[in-house]
Amino acid sequence: MALSRRRRRSAFRGAQYVLLLVIVVVFAFLANWGQIGRAFFDLDVAAAQFPDVITVALKNTIIFTALGFALGLGLGLVFALMRLSSVGAYRWFARAYIEFFRGLPALLIFLAVGVGVPIAFPDTHLPRNVSIMIALGIVSSAYMAETIRAGIQAVPRGQVEAARSLGMSPFRSMITIVIPQAFRIVLPPLANELIMLTKDSSLAFLLGTTPAQQELAQFSRQALLEAKGLTPIVVAGLCYLVITIPLSILQQRLEKKYGAGVSGGGAT
């Protein structure tokens, strides 16, 4: 018997639901829920994490990320503009910087800043927050430079022509017309970078810490030594989501808000 297209579609969907149900039932009966609960979410252990996991660890993660992102964004914009410069030396330098730091693991950059800088410049004592800011700033700037450059180039040429025709200088056109539109275009990848940077801030432990300077990852590792089971990790993981999920929502809101403000090509 030949099935109509509609019947075939609904039969296929039905089969998928049945498969899902079977998996859930098997998993529910086979798993030892008591054991899993104790290992991953022991309420007593979880309660012991508070309030420090919020007031110290979460706060530090947010501070480190914000500092690193601010520096990375600033450096990224500068290197993006250098990549587009009419002066060859600027282009080459920016190209070299981007290729170099984009290719290195964040871990190496943290070690270079944390260990290398004190050796190379024995007289400088960077505050720890500044070291973290520099490391995270370097890590993110190389990516953001490429992202912002692509955004600038995606702004239709007609926008610059219109700005120049009104008597704006090249610099003024860039600041007033191109860059605001470029940032709207690259909002999704920039938000992505911010979320990745939130996680990279866990490398701050490489720069040495006092308990008051611990961020989420290190805080949970410390707690892990005292607790039986993985509960501290679960708590820290949830805290990361407390940061990243609102960021995603904010990103969606901004995209919706600025959606109408992005030029839809058509310019010659």
Partner: protein, 253 residues
């Protein structure tokens, strides 16, 4: 006394090996409307874009209102303030509202205060009949409305001369009339205008002078009653035949 505001002499422009303008001479008097017509690829848009140096000519001289645009040491930003430009694709600033599109250059370039800039902007919005759209973003407007805003934006700089680069070519046919009406009104107010267009009716009724270009040279120039109604050159005749009656002249050359 004739008051020449745009003077072009011996203008040459090439893109790589492709020679687009092969020695153009043109004089426009203050208050005149000059329409430039011709087949695509004839160099008419390039000629217009040379007048505010969006394209740099290799040879020749352009003087606008006593200012030699082609001089290497000219203050080009200063000169462009006085030359309004309207593009085929409107090029409104996509991230700014209609009112901001009209005020941004007044404020950043002419250094006008917010109140004065907005007053000028509103006057010009009213002139193009779009006062109620001042808080809209360009993306929310029809093509015809966007082009009228673009005209108002250029007017807000109080230009000496306005350049129109095929202002109605990107519009749906039913929206062309509104834009042409605004341009006609401008012409009546005495604005000096250089218009690259395919709108023969407009050229015929509004232009003081029509320029027919083909292959990078001016083939024929004169009042519309001559160039459009009674063209002398074969190339002009065949172009007009194709434009005015496209269905019956395919293959005619």
């Amino acid at each position: 006394m004739t008051d020449v505001i745009v003077e072009i002499s011996g203008l040459h422009k090439a893109f790589g090996p492709l020679e687009v303008l092969k020695g153009i001479d043109l004089q426009v008097e203050r208050g005149q409307v000059v329409c430039i017509i011709g087949p695509s690829g004839s160099g008419k848009s390039t000629l217009l874009r040379c007048v505010n140096l969006l394209e740099e000519p290799q040879q020749g001289k352009i003087v606008v209102n006593g200012n030699e645009i082609t001089d290497e040491d000219v203050d080009i930003d200063g000169a462009r303030r006085k030359i309004g430009m309207v593009f085929q694709s409107f090029n409104l600033f996509a991230h700014l509202t209609v009112l901001e599109n009209l005020t941004v250059a007044q404020r950043k370039v002419l250094k006008r205060g917010k109140e004065e800039a907005e007053r000028v902007a509103r006057e010009n919005l009213e002139k193009v009949g779009l006062s109620e759209k001042e808080t809209s973003l360009p993306g929310q407007l029809s093509g015809g409305q966007q082009q009228r805003v673009a005209i108002a934006r250029a007017l807000s700089m109080n230009p000496d001369v306005m350049l129109f680069d095929e202002p109605t070519s990107a519009l749906d046919p039913e929206l062309v009339g509104d834009v042409l009406a605004v341009m006609r009104q401008l012409a009546e107010e005495g604005m000096t205008m250089l218009v690259v267009t395919h709108e023969m009716q407009f050229a015929r009724e509004v232009a003081d002078s029509v320029l027919f270009m083909d292959g990078g040279v001016v083939v024929e120039q004169g009042p519309p009653s001559q160039v459009i109604v009674d063209p002398q050159h074969d190339r002009t005749k065949s172009f007009l035949a194709r434009v005015l009656d496209p269905t019956h002249s395919a293959g005619l050359d």
